[in-house]
């Protein structure tokens, strides 16, 4: 009997979803669009960066340095007038983002004075890009120096060996795939469910449901179940795109990953129901979920901006963002194959959040039922 009622709900809710192109777009267009946008446009990686070299030395050593820089395949030389005035104009025009200046008598200073300098100039209107290029070029120049220094020429030598753990290629996808999953699940479970419940209130159909003998909890479960399924499908789509298009590994247990996905999804759902109990129109529900859920999930979860570099006030604020914990879990399972000791704490926090939200949602739902 309950199952039949439940089925009637699922069927009806599916009709709503299928007949509303806007909903359909958010459900299926959005996740794919987000992955592609983050995958192909928003990226800190660089390939084939165009750099200018001003070689004022024009000696053997300076030429082999230029060769060394271009041999890596990361830098591509662009023709530049060999003087600083020309460079400045090019930076201002934006045709050059990064330049290497090798001063006169480079070779002589290097071997005889043991004191040569190279200048790196970057357009820091794009700070991330500038930092990445600078550090990469510095590394290469360091390696070049070691290669060419005469045996024993440098009295002290400190070899710095860097290892980038879990993401040796510094692929952006390793960060944005977990982030997009967190965002999409929040979007669908919280925003879409708060919208669909608010819509029933707005059109008056909620009253009809409430005067039926159905317990309110069944009404809510019946309404949100289709969205849970769809959100789960969306999470799978994003994971599959991550694995097959962007080569993001899933090293850990897939079952654990999906199980914890479900936990996070329930947290998002409880948030959505809570918001819907507080809003009587779709517009309020939409605005509330945008500002209290989506923006914080994007900005404060560590998805776009690292939490460690936020001001301490925002760091505290980020501790109440569920996505923060879910992204930690995703990264631990997918990239590090970490065991329970790494994920029990964020999982426990999500469980506590879920319980608190369920109690709050239940209490607020009674208000309209009073």
């Amino acid at each position: 009997m309950l199952l039949k009622i439940f089925w009637a709900f699922v069927k009806k809710e599916s009709f709503h979803i299928l007949r509303d192109t806007r909903t359909l777009f958010i459900l299926f267009g959005m996740p794919i669009a987000l992955v592609l946008i983050f995958g192909y446009t928003v990226t800190n990686e660089f390939k084939d960066a165009s750099i200018a070299v001003i070689d004022e030395a024009q000696d053997d050593l300076s030429q082999s340095l230029v060769e060394h820089l271009t041999a890596s395949g990361h830098f591509r030389l662009i023709d530049m007038p060999p003087n600083k005035a020309g460079i400045e104009a090019a930076f201002r025009a934006g045709t050059v983002k990064f330049a290497v200046v090798i001063p006169p008598q480079f070779e002589r200073r290097f071997y005889r004075d043991k004191q040569a300098s190279v200048q790196l100039i970057a357009d820091a209107t794009e700070p991330n890009y500038a930092t990445t290029l600078t550090s990469y070029a510095s590394q290469m120049i360091g390696a070049f120096q070691n290669e060419h220094a005469e045996q024993g020429a440098l009295p002290y030598q400190l070899d710095i060996e860097t290892r980038m753990l879990y993401n040796p290629q510094l692929e952006g996808a390793y960060n944005f795939i977990p982030g997009v999953v967190a965002l999409i699940l929040m979007l669908i479970c919280a925003m879409m469910t708060s919208l669909t419940i608010a819509k029933e209130k707005e059109t008056g159909t909620m009253d009809l449901l409430l005067v039926s003998p159905l317990p309110p909890i069944l009404i809510i479960i019946g309404k949100v179940t289709p969205y849970v399924l769809l959100a789960f499908v969306d999470a799978l789509i994003v994971f599959v795109m991550g694995v097959y298009i962007f080569n993001v590994p899933i090293l850990g247990n897939l079952g654990v990953l999906l199980g914890l996905c479900l936990l996070y999804l329930l947290v998002a759902l409880a948030l959505g129901v809570l918001i819907s109990t507080r809003s009587t129109t779709q517009q309020t529900a939409m605005m509330t979920s945008m500002f209290t859920l989506l923006m914080p999930t994007m900005l404060l979860s560590g998805f776009l901006f690292p939490i460690a570099s936020m001001p301490s006030f925002l760091q505290y604020l980020s501790t109440i963002i569920p996505a923060r914990y879910f992204i930690d879990i995703e990264k631990a399972v997918m990239l590090k194959d970490a065991g329970w000791e790494a994920i029990y704490w964020p999982s426990l926090i999500l469980v506590i959040m879920l319980l608190v939200l369920l109690v709050a949602a239940r209490r607020n739902f009674k208000v309209i039922y009073k």
Binding site: M1, A8, K11, T205, D207, V211, S212, Y369
Partner: protein
């Protein structure tokens, strides 16, 4: 039912929001099979009163039973015995006629066979044979209202509550709607209807008139017109409101 019974009884039923008495100690009863008109201006407390009777709102004070069940303790049983058509026209516009009937039949736990039978009954009764697969949103308002009433009765309730069911349509369309109410009442269904159209008041068996949270007049249209020495319900209403 050979003997006339009361299916709704209210004694000093009151609803207080903060320090505002939305419904102030109203008492009345409604007999089985009767069409009971619940009149009043906008904001007089009609909707609040109806919500207390159907279990959507808990009374602050007073007593009431609906279909013999207590409004404080037995809202579940009440809900099984009533149908409701709300002020806002309340079917799903993006579902077809048939899908709406199926859904409401489904949530009242009707069997598949019952639903099929009800669906064809309703479609035939409303003459919607050619529109069963159309989205409800594309139907004229008068049709939607009649469909909403039919859907409110899909589980054969003893009482159907209607909260301003005919807002926004012309008197001829209202008249068609009322034909349906008479037909239901003839089958023994009790109709509890709120309205502020006075032409509709004339159609009721008995009416109560609410002013500012209180019931100021109660009786058949003829009795009320005599009592207030008026020719029409409109005059009765105006006299009441001016006092």
């Amino acid at each position: 039912m050979s003997q006339i019974q009361n299916v709704i009884e209210a004694q000093a039923l009151t609803k207080i929001f903060g320090d505002f008495k939305a419904v102030n100690a109203i008492s009345f009863d409604v007999k089985a099979g009767e069409i009971f008109g619940f009149l009043g201006a906008n904001g007089a407390g009609k909707t609040t009163a109806i919500k207390m009777l159907i279990g959507l709102s808990r009374p602050s004070e007073g007593e009431a039973t609906v279909a013999g069940y207590d409004v404080y303790q037995q809202t579940e049983q009440i809900k099984e015995n009533i149908g409701y058509m709300s002020q806002k026209f309340s079917l799903y516009e993006d579902l077809t006629v048939r899908e709406n009937i199926n859904f409401y039949g489904g949530i009242y736990g009707l069997s598949r066979r019952q639903i099929r039978q009800k669906t064809s009954e309703i479609i035939e009764q409303l003459g919607l044979e050619n529109h069963a697969r159309k989205l409800v949103g594309s139907l004229p308002l008068g049709w939607k209202q009649r469909l909403a009433f039919a859907v409110a009765g899909v589980h054969d309730p003893k009482i159907i509550f209607l909260d301003e069911p005919t807002g926004g349509v012309d008197p001829a369309t209202r008249r068609q709607f009322w034909e349906m109410l008479y037909a239901a009442a003839d089958r023994g269904v009790t109709i509890f209807v709120t309205t502020h159209y006075m032409d509709e008041a004339e159609y009721c068996d008995r009416i109560s008139i609410m002013v500012a949270g209180r019931i100021d007049a109660l009786g058949s249209p003829r009795e009320l017109k005599q009592q207030f020495s008026a020719n029409t319900m409109d005059e009765v209403f105006l006299k009441l409101v001016r006092d």
